[in-house]
């Protein structure tokens, strides 16, 4: 036992004597391992994003990509006062087609995510129950998910075909409609067509995520509720739902972000339809069909900012812990 008085006071001791050889070796390895990934992401994501944002403040044309001039926020919003005294506004932010695209995108995202969550929940609940043939059902719902988006678009386009489509045929037969409808070509129905395909394709994904969350609920909770004689609907509402909520919230935010950037389905199923044109579609159109890569980049940057804002809001509200600190 040392004489306590002889020891230096705690404050005088160095707080951290430095790392051991082991810690140092591990940290060094960690950095070496991370460099390839960081480099790759910088080149493939970081730089292009920065460049695209740069394009959005220039008047670059796609054909002459190196030769654009800085024009500030003119692509976004600018105005000119005419000799007559009238002020005219230009830019993405006053472009009605842009706002139409925004509205299309938001409309699509909200409806599709809502339907996919509800339907997915129903499917997940069904799959959570133990019944013969459960394996077949689970395999069956993987089919829409496995099919490439373009293929789904073509398969459904064929089913929705106005002249030879099976859906028109079926609806006519059961008297739901009186004449064949060109689902993908008519403005009033094209969004429904897109929604139909997306919901068909994505519900399995939602269902699987929710099912995983459901299966984390320990069985004894249900057994205790059964012994207490609680009505199954009440069990669902007061027990299951709160416990599954974190899983659902993660699934919803992922799906929402995905839905907001949709391109493939809209481009292939309902090409050139102003009723379904989303932000991604109109941005690309400006970049590669209208040769206006600067103007188009302004649109894509706006989309990026909207998504950034959404996820920041979500994280700030949810205070999600992503680093895993506190565990290993």
């Amino acid at each position: 036992m040392s004489d306590v008085a002889a020891l230096p006071s705690r404050a005088a001791l160095p707080r951290n004597q430095g790392l051991s050889d082991l810690s140092r070796e591990r940290l060094r390895s960690a950095w070496i391992f991370l460099v390839p990934m960081c480099l790759a992401l910088l080149i493939v994501a970081g730089w292009p994003l920065a460049r695209s944002i740069w394009f959005s403040v220039t008047d670059t044309e796609t054909d002459h990509i190196g030769q654009g001039d800085f024009i500030g926020l003119a692509n976004y919003l600018t105005w000119k006062t005419l000799p007559s005294g009238r002020t005219v506004f230009y830019g993405v932010l006053v472009n009605p087609e842009w706002w139409n695209a925004v509205w299309n995108t938001v409309r699509f995202a909200v409806v599709s995510v809502a339907c996919e969550t509800l339907l997915g929940m129903a499917v997940a609940l069904a799959l959570n129950a133990n019944f013969p043939g459960r394996g077949i059902v689970r395999a069956a719902i993987l089919v829409p998910w496995a099919i490439p988006t373009i293929v789904s678009a073509k398969m459904w386009a064929w089913m929705l075909n106005d002249q030879f489509g099976i859906i028109n045929d079926f609806f006519l037969r059961i008297g739901l409609i009186s004449h064949k409808i060109a689902f993908t070509a008519t403005d009033s129905t094209s969004m429904f067509a897109v929604l139909a395909v997306d919901i068909w394709k994505t519900t399995p994904f939602m269902a699987l995520l929710i099912l995983a969350g459901l299966q984390l609920v320990p069985n004894d909770i249900y057994e205790a509720a059964a012994i207490d004689g609680v009505h199954p609907l009440k069990v669902f509402w007061r027990v299951t739902l709160p416990l599954v909520r974190p899983a659902i919230m993660v699934a919803v935010i992922f799906r929402f972000m995905d839905a907001m950037r949709i391109f493939d389905l809209v481009y292939v199923l309902t090409p050139n339809s102003s009723a379904t044109k989303t932000m991604s579609v109109i941005a690309r159109e400006n970049m590669f069909d209208f040769n206006k890569i600067g103007y188009g980049s302004a649109m894509s940057t706006l989309l990026f900012l909207i998504l950034l804002g959404s996820i920041t809001l979500y994280l700030w509200l949810g205070r999600v812990n992503l680093s895993g600190d506190g565990e290993r």
């Binding site: 036992m1 040392s2 020891l7 001791l13 160095p14 707080r15 951290n16 004597q17 430095g18 790392l19 051991s20 050889d21 082991l22 810690s23 070796e25």
Partner: protein, 335 residues
């Protein structure tokens, strides 16, 4: 030879101080047991000695050389983990050979050492099996075998028996004791929360509490001369009886402690009067719980089956020289 010295060793995780200044000497070749309640820092201390955690301040010396920054491999240690930590995809042989392969030993040398260790622990029939094909006890022996193969100067055990059932625990305890006899040059440091393991295996025990050393000594020293109420209450099963108030005042102490095996039970007119509230009959001995007016009932040990029954009025006669007196700070009373 590996004597280990700890000089004012401290360990903090962020702002939390887990080890708050430990000074200790572990003699070469001795079997030292770190024991204490959960959260006292015994596992952390073991991991500091192993080198799996960095020491925040203070010095750790192996044979007089400071090894704070040395990697575990270079410290000459081997470790047996609570969960065995065998590589699941390797056979028993490959598990044991792994360390030597990494340091470039030749096949013949590896083979020889593994055979020796396998013989010592009787695991030779399992050498070609995968860990999942073995029982818990067999896996633990393989883990010990893997450690032996490293030919370490210091053997570290981190609660190795906690995952085994009671019968297996006793059997494996015996194996570890025999191991210590065979490898009497190797220092062994053993962490457990079970004071029975500590008492039966240790040359010396170090009782830890809240990141500090309470007492270091041989099992008998801790049993007969505890230097604090905490150690007195921690060592020995059942727990020592503590009495304060008027009982303690009579002995000029703040608290007195007397072990269950040092009290005689007799008729109600002699000694401390009380009433039996519960008896436990274990066959070889029995325990009688007596209410005498203190916070907790006093436990008395009796040989064989007790003749006292619940509700009976009895008198407790403690063995006077074996009463421990403690002053208000929890230390033994002087004077």
């Amino acid at each position: 030879m590996s004597g280990i010295e700890l000089k004012n060793v401290r360990k903090s995780f962020g702002t939390v101080d887990v080890i708050k200044g430990v000074d200790m000497t572990i003699r070469a070749g001795e079997f030292m047991v770190f024991v204490g309640p959960s959260g006292c820092g015994k596992s952390t201390l073991l991991r500091l000695i192993a080198g799996l955690e960095d020491i925040t301040s203070g010095d750790l010396l192996f044979d007089g050389k400071v090894v704070n920054k040395v990697t575990p491999k270079n410290r000459g240690i081997a470790m047996v983990f609570q969960s065995y930590a065998l590589y699941p995809h390797m056979t028993v042989y490959e598990n044991m050979a792994f360390g030597m392969q990494l340091s470039g030993s030749d096949k013949a040398a590896i083979e020889k050492r593994i055979q020796l260790a396998a013989d010592m622990l009787q695991i030779t029939p399992y050498l070609k099996r995968l860990p999942k094909q073995l029982s818990g006890g067999q896996r633990q022996r393989v883990a010990i075998g893997r450690a032996i193969v490293r030919d370490p100067k210091v053997f570290l055990f981190d609660e190795p028996l906690s995952n085994l059932d009671a019968a297996l625990r006793v059997a494996t305890r015996l194996e570890i004791a025999k191991l210590h006899e065979k490898m009497h040059d190797t220092t062994m440091i053993y962490v457990t929360h079970d004071q029975v393991e500590a008492m039966t295996l240790a040359d010396r025990i170090c009782v830890l509490r809240d990141g500090l050393v309470e007492q270091v000594g041989t099992p008998m020293e801790l049993y007969e001369k505890p230097q604090s109420v905490f150690v007195a209450g921690f060592i020995g099963s059942p727990k020592m009886n503590f009495l304060n108030g008027s009982f303690a005042e009579k002995y000029r102490a703040s608290t007195i402690g007397v072990r269950a095996e040092h009290i005689d039970l007799g008729a109600a007119d002699k000694g401390w009067p009380g009433k039996v509230i519960h008896t436990e009959n274990l066959g070889a001995d029995s325990y009688v719980y007596v209410e005498i007016g203190t916070d907790e009932p006093v436990i008395v040990r009796q040989n064989g089956a007790t003749r006292f029954e619940t509700g009976q009025s009895v008198g407790l006669v403690p063995n006077e020289p074996l009463i421990h007196r403690f002053s208000a700070d929890g230390r033994p009373a002087t004077g």
